[in-house]
Symmetry: D4
Subunit: 210 residues, 8 copies
């Protein structure tokens, strides 16, 4: 556990009982808790016993306290995706970032097949400290954003698509091969990791090194 950070629990493959057990142990220790990958049904079961918990439905995240006690920063993280199917991963990144005390601005209808919707927001995106680009299928959005902004871009490939998308491999390769500089990549569907890395970078911006 990083200091000043909540405990993170990976909820997938754990039963509601297992999650509550870990949860309660941590509450006892006085730790804030964030559980990722909790579907609606599991969350409902848990909320009955733990009404003090917050459930972020699209992000599939359960949190208890976990809002950073630090004073709010004026900088913000831009989180971008193309639409409906990538939303759960984008929201996982966004909610993680907010729970760790960063400001987030969402740009959620900016797929490359409609490049003008992206360009309409170019200035606001460029104003961020760091961007998180979430994209499935061909994953081209990361390169286009990388070319538009001069801050670091964290690319999160998603398993959205079918056939030759190979469950996110196509988007992953696109992002690793980005012709734009300043793009680094996390695992397929790892909204948590994308949001977390963005927060580390955003905090640096808040602190300064010298």
């Amino acid at each position: 556990k990083r200091q000043g950070f909540p405990e993170f629990i990976f909820g997938e493959g754990k039963t509601p009982e297992q999650i509550m057990a870990i949860f309660e142990a941590m509450q006892k220790r006085g730790d804030d808790v964030v559980v990722t990958r909790v579907d609606k049904e599991k969350a409902a079961e848990i909320l009955v016993k733990h009404p003090e918990v917050t459930y972020h439905e699209t992000a599939r995240i359960l949190s208890w306290k976990a809002v950073d006690s630090q004073e709010k920063r004026t900088g913000y993280i831009a989180i971008l995706c193309a639409g409906t199917s990538d939303l759960p991963v984008a929201e996982e990144a966004a909610v993680i970032a907010e729970l760790l005390g960063s400001n987030v601005r969402r740009f959620y209808d900016v797929g490359v097949a409609g490049i003008h919707r992206l360009l309409d927001h170019a200035e606001e995106i460029q104003g961020a400290t760091v961007s998180v680009v979430v994209a499935g299928m061909e994953g081209a959005l990361a390169s286009v954003v990388g070319g538009l902004v001069s801050h670091p871009v964290i690319a999160v490939p998603t398993s959205v698509g079918y056939g030759a998308s190979f469950n996110g491999v196509s988007a992953l390769l696109t992002m690793l091969n980005s012709c734009a500089s300043g793009v680094s990549v996390v695992n397929i569907d790892n909204g948590f990791g994308g949001g977390y890395q963005a927060v580390l970078i955003d905090r640096l911006a808040g602190k300064g090194s010298d």
Copy 2:
């Protein structure tokens, strides 16, 4: 051999002697000839004995006659790529299209990392009957162009790149997963195939079906 088309020979892996032998046989039969994938050294050897032949250096193509006898069309094929390394494949497509009697307009510095250079030409590209998009590394250009134009796009992935570009597989997958409709794909580095398919489509535009 398609009627009204020259004979096409795949020059890679053939010696200058083998190429000339096939060549001479076809000249005897009165056929026009186009040889692809002929490097500079081989071409030089052949030109000594066959000064009547034309060598297109960047495209690596040798041609003899082969310009379509049809009257020139007013429509044109747009051929796009991002720059230096994709040029040989883009030129292979362009020269094939010209040798088969189509008009070609080249847009060769329009990579997605500098989206505005592409958008500057949007209208002229949209005016084409068909676009051929040549791209390596992450291959994102095909999706962006597919979103800009309403005519068919033929995407040609190239083996340009290193590491996780896997010799063109990354660009190929990107293109097959294009979120823009109206994009179909040919083999990695197959500039010939991209140019040829574009000509078939461009000719339809010239003929009309009803």
Copy 3:
């Protein structure tokens, strides 16, 4: 959205409620709507509330209006496959093409293991403006058709098969490596994309470029 075209919705992974919500929003805007990948059960639920909608069962498509207002063309698109298992993808292509105003002729029992059934229709297939070849397993049909006709062929690999068919990868590779020229390829099981690209080409034939 392309002008004069309906809105396309990808129905897979959406609930009947989500589909109807999008649907109703578009009806309000006066847009025609086409929803792909809707299975029988979902369609039934939707039809109860929206009896004005048409369900194309094998194609798994729901449509509302969407027949192109343009006068009908005399040209036609040929859609070919080998039989039973590829039918849903072939019909997806065929229904999309018809909904966009093209004429379609179906050749649905022409697998390469019985080459004569294909050859019996050679002339009628060659008469089309463009062919869509749908094939799984070894996907060899695209090459054979590519060799028979002189118009563009759009190849659609399907995930039909088992073992080393690798969910359509085998057919995809076959088609990308076609020894016949004039064959370009869309994603595995992408009947929608194959039909759409064919319509763009068929319309060119109707318009002429010069």
Copy 4:
């Protein structure tokens, strides 16, 4: 070593000296010898010292005696391929079969892109005891032949092609997924194995089991 068969040596990666050493040892033991994968330069060096040896250039085979002493059969093996680039593998199969005493008929210009050239020979091919189909790129020939004949087909994928042919993987998968029954497959470029298996089958035809 199978009884009545020569010794087979895999020449690739062996020096002329190593090949001659093995060779001479076997001659001493009175064994016939066949060395595969011997390129022209190596063969030349060996022939200087062993003029009694025969070199089959396209097949890249060196043989010494090795023609089966059995009386010649009336049946024959059909060996098919599409042309120039597959010739070395097809000839490897053909020469092995002849050296083991089978009759061979060659059909070497019968690619699926020109299906009629294949069909012109359909009857003579069907008359064989077994067919060996050698094909690279998309490898579709095996399925088409499998559909035409009622005897066993041995398919030999070759590494001919580029890009998504993946050094023969595309052709290999095509052949393993053949929709025609009665097709079995050997390793990529394994003309030796295809010819050998065909001989075992052809000999059965000569013997009868009951």
Copy 5:
């Protein structure tokens, strides 16, 4: 349909109703019928309406007549596998072979980890006209058998195993790379194809080519 052979139907993915419809159509035409990949539940439903049909449970095959009318041959096909998990594929091959009129001898407990059980049967296996070797996991049995016998071996990889067996890919590669000559391979889990190819070879032995 091959002359003198029943119609083969691939039952997987078809409903009992669809199977019975095809079935009845063929019975009307007077054709024998064999349906593969029919699980126990589907078979039970069909048998209620068609008690004249035979169900081969382990082989998952439904057959109606289909025993070759030819006089029985004295030769036999050897079918080998290592045990429990490969049985359905081995039986698919065996039942197909028997339905097509061949004699079959089964060797079903001969995995390479207990080499002596295999060697105990070496002579009887060598006496066959052709062997079908069915194996999953590492698939090594095909090479060992290929080394023991002098007739053709048809290798059938199965998807048995977990982890790095990659659903049969490991066994498939092993068999394609067999260091024993006279081994050719069919698709993963393709017991039908293995049995069918063996019958074509076994019939040759029965006929003789000269």
Copy 6:
């Protein structure tokens, strides 16, 4: 080109003449220039004509001016690798970072097989604003460092290794699957990309966002 940054040229696959031509064009425009992937031989040829250029041998980089004009920061980037074979990639990252004005501290003998050498430097590494971890073979170093530090880690897989390292794929997958949070990844052997992304992050630390 990012403002205040030099022009970057990818030197691989370009002749000394091509590099010098680009180079001279940029000097004329007054741009600083950095050329990556220039081997010793090429560099020697260029230095003869351009003695004003600096060659960084291990990093394989040619630079001309390009040291950022900003006042030096007090923060630093940690660059880590395991030894000899990864040095060229690590140095590519380090030199890029220095040329762009960042301070760099090198930790070049800290492979996971000798974990104590790494731990000896834990405090100094943790003091950096960002770490670049360069590793081939199993690439485990990124996870271990990710667990030790609370700043962002940029992981650069290298193609060092043989056999199942698959030219860097093994290290790439390891890094993408890092169990430590705060690790993002660039392309195989992309020392340039790793250094560049680290600089963007290090500059943020220098600036602060609020």
Copy 7:
């Protein structure tokens, strides 16, 4: 069956009835029995009829007698993993080792992201005769342990993870590429194989060879 060892049965894919049948046959022969991969539900059904059997829940193993009759050794096997998700595989290894008569010490919270928890146990781990390292995701633990100890390490990759973990392939490759010497690897999720190999080595330590 190895002498002095129980019979091992792979329970996955077998019904409780099939397992009990094999079980009873072996009891009759007087053999000890160990069944792996038996989930809780199956185990419950079997225990009703066979209360004499022991079920090891996390390890998913059913055993009957099978504790080695040899006098207990003083040496021990170290079994290591990072936590929750790898436990079933680690316990499979541990229980197998104990059933075969070895002493086992478990180190189950020693992931590389918290290197100090591992180092706290370094001496006790080094004291073992052999270590079994169980790890999913990036699998880096095997290399770190390999560097710490001077006895043989058996690495067991697990399918734990998502996205680019590719069901254990990432961990498998990491382990095969270990930069530490003295690490050998078994199949993904093969806790049984890891435990078994460790016992063979631990017994050697007990016996001595000279």
Copy 8:
């Protein structure tokens, strides 16, 4: 460096000068040295300056002192392979084992296609403390040996083969999927790793744990 062991240097990709520099540094420190992957030409250059060094040609190893000072053991390691092409890897394992003080017995003509040659040595192989099985192509030898012996087997896949051997992947998968227990695997062509792991095990046998 393990205590009592020489320093190991990986010679591939290092120049003779670099090797000699490391070498001399270690000699100065009084360390024994073993350099692997040194080809004949490099070795010759080094031997001119360092005649005190021993070159093991087939194993491609240079050694200086490095024979373990411990008294010789009576146990032995069995090293097995099928022949010519696997020899360099087998010898790498054998020489490493001997340099580390183990006794080695070589069984170098025991491929599975000639199972009887292997069985002729079964007793002597079973007498070893541990076996190292080196095999390329289909790699089946490891399973067969694993079934014959009751001691640990270390399997070393080699890159020998062509086509679908995929540079050793086929053999690697075979070995990981071994149906025989007691087989663990090292990287492709890693004779060094196989020999080293065998020595660790053989030494245990010499020591005993209790």
